[in-house]
Amino acid sequence: MGLRPFVIRRCIEIAVIFFVIMTVLFVLFRLAPGDPVERMVDPSMTPEDAQLLMESMGLDRPVWTQYLYYLKNMATGNMGISFHYGEPVIHILMDRLPNTILLFTSAIILSALLGVFLGKIAAWRRGERTDMLMTVGALFCHTLFLPWLALIMIWFFAYHVGWFPITGMVTPAVWIDPDAGMISKALDVLHHMALPLMTLVLTHFGSYLLIMRSSMLDTLKEDYIITARAKGLTEKTIRDRHAAPNAALPVVTSVGLSLAFSINGGALTETVFTWPGIGRELVFSVSHSDYPLAQAAFLLIAIVVLTANLLVDVLYAYLDPRIRY
């Protein structure tokens, strides 16, 4: 099979999967217990008022009709209007998406860099105390309960020491100030980003360290490393120029996949640090039965993950023609 038919076949498969995901999401939210209207009414409102509210949300129609409207809207790129915000959900998600990408992409890249750096040292010093300390440390950090760690970080670095702001993404006083320039605003965002970033890096770098260490140990047994030693190259050059770049390939694959999943944010991280991203909106929309917002958020994640998968498949097929058959 040529590359083009392969790509077309994968695109069709992904379209079918996307349709299934769309339908499953619709059904799941309707089957889930809870009623969007019940959270919006109080005893001063009559059942007729509640009925009007349902009508305004389109929930008075039969489920099949709602499903057909949902499909029709999706086909035209209309993901619906949030019950609580009263705005097109796509606006809400696009508003939050850059914040999530900024935090989580930075966290993944920094974690990977730290993991690769420490992983290669651990592998190079295999069996020594440094290796043991790094491996145990990585496992320890990887298994820390994130909300607990986040609260401890806030308490110590933001409240006790006072180096960082207590949660949020911006300082109102800076952003309200008409004299504040772009640089001070950018620095303000970075200042707020530091604590969640440190927390995420602490809990994520361990997995990259372990992947790197394992891969590096395999690489160090390769013939070209022995050749490099025979050539009389320094230990540092062998480690950093010859072994590490090759050993880092599995980490790069892992980072690629993590980046695709990073758009769903981290509900816990975003909640504790009050980071206005997709994760917090997901929690809100599901807990308040805001169907359009929840469906759109999950669909957005599905789109990014499916697209990433498609790209990886196409790349693999391009690099290794055997995959197409």
Binding site: G34, L52, P172
Partner: protein, 573 residues
Amino acid sequence: MIWERRRRCLILLFLLTTAFFACHEGTRSNSLRIGLVEEPRTLNVWLASDANTRKVLSLIYQPLYVVDPETLDLVPWLAESMPMYDPDARSYTIFLRSARWSDGTPFTSRDVAFTGRLIKSFKVPRYASKWRFIERIETPDARTVTFYLKKPMATFLSGTLATPIVQAKEWSAIAEKAKTTEKPLATLINHRIHHPVGTGPFTLEQWCRGAFLHLKKNPLFFGTGQAINGHTLGPFFDDLVYTVFGTSDVAILALKKGSIDMFWWPIQPGYMADLNRREDIRLFTNEKSALYFMGFNLRRLPFNDVALRRAVAYTIDKDFIVSRILQGQGTKMFSVVPAENRFWCCTDLPRYGDGLSRERRIKTAFQLLSDAGYTWAVPPVDAAGNIQPAKAIRLPGGRPMGRFTILTPPADYDPHRATSGLMIQEWLRKMGMPAYSRPMAFSSLLQQVKGKHDFDAFILGYGRLRLDPDYVRNLFHSANDKPRGWNMSGYHNSTFDGLADRSTSEMDPIKRQVLVMDMQKLIARDLPYFPLYKPSVVEAVRRDRFEGWVEMLEGIGNIWSLCMVKPVNNHGA
């Protein structure tokens, strides 16, 4: 060369770090910073349904009348005086205060009439029932508005006249456009408002989604410098900034650190000891217009028997719930109307088991059940009158009582109700009843109880009851016993229905008070709901920033406070 490069790098790093940490949280002495746990969702007043959104919009859009913080009586706000009622014409005439909208245009009777007509023509859900009985609205002049009622309606004053008034100029174009669409109501309530025009003490300056919302003092606010009901109004500060915090823990840390001046959310008892120790924090404890209760399903066994419901009421130790579960931050309730709602609350009601010892409660409940024909394999009180663990209670016909559940919200949603459910389960088991407390996700609980009526008993609560007691009619009128209806217990009593119907149309407050009291007596006698407690509202502010907070029912977070607090002297006014 290498050292030179390293030195430059170090200097650059030092400069960046200095700049980075220089981004401290600035404090403007004349801005009040309030912490919220959730972000407001919309600026469209017709869509707003959550408390946090109302905390913002209530400072922008104003009603004709508000409640006085001390007496809880209605006070003219956008209105100049109390309404004049003409019983023959069934009309209310209201004279309006001289006021301006935040865009500078005058506030007139046309705006009031427009608001009413808009609600009626679009049937805006949150307000439609409060305006349905208005026949027509006339505006004899720019500062006079007359409402003609189809029938007498007692909720007109506290319900209809508490509606926020919107500007005809701003909303008429939106309404006209909405009318041309397929779904006018959906278009109206989903219209995105960027810069709301109001008559309130503040106007919107900036909303940085997910981060903060900045309001500025409205220089055209009608109340500035005025004494309304003896309260001289400001606002006395320029900026009001709402900041969002994901959790209470973090918000309280921010308060302690001085990043916010007030946390507008009830403080849980667990934080109080720490906050009480601090000299820079002040706690305010106020009562809440709330009702937390145990409800029974009167449609099926075993709770269709009033004797059983009364026996259950006797076994419940409210003192324990308030002192141990609420840690003293609440009060017992005996009526479905909170005691602080003094005019409407009936105090002459049976207080099942109040003040009795554990032994006395069990004996009274045992006596009640025995008299009603209930029997036990092992009764809770033996022949010698000693208390013993009861086993296997049987219904009056001799059938064993089947296992029943008490549905409660989960502990992470409301630990008080979840723990109360567990305690009640234990107290009922001591009477030989197969009670099982079952925490359930809040949405599921509502669906089970209100939508499907598939339950035995439940513990729920209303956190913000209106002062007008019309909700008592809504909660127990037999016409509301339907899926999604408020009569969740399935209470049917024609006497109650008659009283409730009369109470809605009784325009004389004193006569209506008698009717509402009688309604409460019936509820206390028949016990479709057994009132348990209401938690207090504890709020925290920083002492060193603002003073002059106004305490009232529901706490210090109210329009009076925000119109009256002043920066403390060391910050200057």
